[in-house]
Amino acid sequence: MTADAVTIQSQPTMRLESRQGRQNQDYFLRADTQGVGVIKLPPEWTWQVEPIKKVLGTLLLPENWDSYGGRTPKSQAAETAIQIIASITQADPPRPRVVPLGTGGIQLEWKKGQRELEVECRPDGSVEVLKIEGDAEGELCSACLPADVVRLVAWLMAA
């Protein structure tokens, strides 16, 4: 059998979806016939892999995982969290902590110096961000988009 063509693929096969004029890349494999769920790993991903694995790991938590009736995180929360991680293009940002919430959401937490970000990915996929500097109470931003979070990560990295 001889090869018809050999290509070394440097770009992953991803479907681009326009949403509100911005390009959103769908890393959940939905663009072909496969059913088994996978996240494709673009060649440029390095630090992203571990937090994404942590996000997926939260989906394996059983109901009442926290002994207070905590719900297993929802897949929509995980998709949003992964979308946010995948959208961060800054080189070598601080690694986010990944914390499951009893509400069925997932929280991503970043800290650099005196600046902190807590990004709540809710069970319905919506996002709320708490932006903190120093000992201040912080500023809550509801209905944030992943692109807003990316800008806030840039703010954090400027600390």
């Binding site: 002994s67 719900r71 914390v99 937490e109 807590e118 109470e137 809550l140």
Partner: protein, 140 residues
């Protein structure tokens, strides 16, 4: 938690100096983080997020070990925070004793949903002040 919630009215008989205990799951490891003091850890604010008011135990009526064991068969650390910290960020503390847990208290917050949960800011204030007092995992 009792089936019907008690009224969302702060109970002044719970002193400000009272410590409140909460179980913190060992996994995932990101649930806790080190503080500036070597060997000391605190929980993430995510541990104080819930659908309704937050369940905690009064230190005057129980011990950290008893709080931990109420979570069996899971494995948990126990964190503590003073009642005044919760009140200072606008939370209300209400006694809600249960048959198997007379120390049970509900901490009501100001979440937009109106269901009595803590909002993001309140959870952060409480988490910042909380400290792990009973460590159940391998040594750091």
């Amino acid at each position: 938690m009792s089936e019907e919630l008690p009224p969302d009215v702060d109970d002044p008989s719970i002193p400000d100096e009272e410590f409140l205990y909460r179980r913190i799951p060992l996994q995932p490891a990101d649930n806790i983080q080190p503080t500036e003091v070597e060997g000391e850890c605190r929980p993430s604010s995510g541990n104080f997020r819930s659908d309704g008011p937050l369940s905690v135990d009064r230190s005057s009526l129980t011990t950290p070990g008893q709080t931990r064991d109420r979570g069996r068969p899971g494995i948990f650390h126990v964190a503590q925070v003073q009642a005044k910290v919760a009140r200072q960020c606008g939370c209300r503390l209400v006694k809600d004793p249960m048959l198997d847990n007379p120390a049970h208290i509900l901490m009501f917050g100001n979440h937009d949903s109106g269901a009595g949960a803590l909002n993001g800011k309140q959870a952060k204030v409480v988490a910042r002040a909380a400290r792990i007092v009973l460590w159940s995992g391998p040594p750091l």
